[in-house]
Symmetry: D2
Subunit: 177 residues, 4 copies
């Protein structure tokens, strides 16, 4: 059976593989510890990401990162955790690809660098730094109950609205030369 | 069909997902430009990696990196390219997960940090730096036609022998507490 | 002659060299392009830093970074520029030690990591990321006309007040075991 | 009085400050633990560096790094330690500017990136990685009793010969447009 199975999609080997590089990468950033309500919101967002066969990038730890990874992996999506430490075992259980970087907070830049669009949910100082880095290097940032009043963030209230905003940004990216 | 398809293996959703963190990561390092013969050797090594449903980590560019990625992806394996630049489009066409790091040569450390075992095939100064970094942080290194006389490298001659050495190292890692 | 002269130069060898590691490092972060008024404020802050024989750490480029470096170097202080690119020639002319990192925005983390206390003056997204990183890793942040409403920043209005806040933080750090 | 005094200190303001960016940076890399004989060799090399008012860059720890820093600081030279950890207190006592990077082995790239010419004395795997990185990014490498047989290293036997080789490289760099 010469098929390549990836996510919840079957890919024919004769499909031009360059297509792969076009897969959408969505970064989800947020607190490593969060309320049940925000966890469910992150999980719902993750499900949309997985259903779209987009790849989820996050910091690989708990809270918002775990909620998004749980939702995405439930839909068969790929979840990448760029970990601050040296051991892939430190990833939450829904990370399909744990990448230990050993860079500490330096991994924050990698999360936003690897993403086409970033969604911030709540979050502390680490998330604030990722918002700043993302906007600095020109990545669109969608925010839900996160740091307020930052010009450049598109603030929304629900996971569904966040996905709508992400899709508008992706449409814009595709129009670029 | 509530299954999660990944690589050439079917995974039941009820399988404990923590299993994922146990997936083996093999780094393949080598010159970005190489002879047809070495390309085929890297491709053969990649096929073994893919058949074992191990994840291939490399620098994502041409030569040895592309050969290994081609072989691995032909077997339905996952191929991660940790790219020096800012654009995922710079990856070779067999990279299923291109990760632009923007760190230049700084990405070399990430390749070896993410890998359980590293295989070096030929290679120039960049590969030499990766060999040094891998051995420095305690990762086993298997070498084929690469920098000679480095104590700590297990030198072999064929892709098959390299896989044998990798499997011995993996068995040793599993025995560790 | 109890002076330490750097350059072509003489040293009192009996000066306890371990004392050096205790030198205070002050990070000044802010926009690479700023108004004349803010430049003068940064320059005034730099003069205080230089007079205290503290070492100035910054990103090494223009605007606030240059203002602070000009003031500090005028007082004979040392000014370190952690540059995003590969060439030390990209530093502003008041940087006594230009350090090209080649890490792009990754150098932002290095600026705050190297500093005991960070002072933010105005600033855009890059500065926002540095504020987030500094607070994340536990460095005190003093802010002048910078991103508002960030819990954790001690907001002040003048260079003199900033130095007062810095001195209070340093006194607190010295009291730690 | 055309001197530049660093510390508590006075500066001839008419000295062209742009001159600073032209200061030569010499990286000295090598084992963190070494024989007394190699320590003295590193110390002698450091004295030449200090006398030439070049800036010494190193990893800031013991062994070869400390020997070079001791020699350089004895001559009033500046010694920069790019430390793997988060605390400047981990630097050896002869480092005048300790820079904690928090990047672990990632700091190896910073040492060679900041240097115009690199001198390797003995050394283990970390030094091997720095040699590879330096040659990869085009920095000249002079080697004394270090990893043998690496095409690209200029091997010499004494500190005096090393300085001669460094000076030839610097003359070559100055001739470049």
């Amino acid at each position: 059976m010469p098929i390549f199975c990836y996510g919840n999609s079957f890919v024919n080997l004769f499909l031009p593989v360059t297509h792969m590089a076009q897969r959408v990468h969505i970064g989800v950033i947020g607190a490593g510890d969060c309320s049940e309500e925000l966890y469910q919101l992150a999980r719902e967002l993750g499900r949309y990401i997985g259903r779209n066969t987009w790849v989820l990038f996050c910091g690989g730890l708990g809270g918002i990162m775990q909620g998004a990874a749980e939702g995405c992996s439930l839909e068969g999506g790929m979840t990448v955790g760029l970990l601050p430490g040296n051991n892939k075992e430190s990833a939450n259980p829904f990370i399909t690809l744990p990448i230990p970087t050993g860079l500490g907070e330096g991994r924050n830049l990698l999360v936003v660098r690897a993403s086409d669009v970033v969604v911030a949910i709540s979050g502390g100082y680490g998330t604030l730094s990722e918002i700043g880095l993302a906007l600095r290097i020109g990545k669109p940032v969608v925010g839900i109950e996160t740091w307020p009043g930052i010009d450049g963030i598109e603030y929304v209230e629900t996971a569904e609205q966040a996905i709508g905003a992400v899709e508008r940004y992706l449409a814009g990216l595709r129009r670029k030369p």
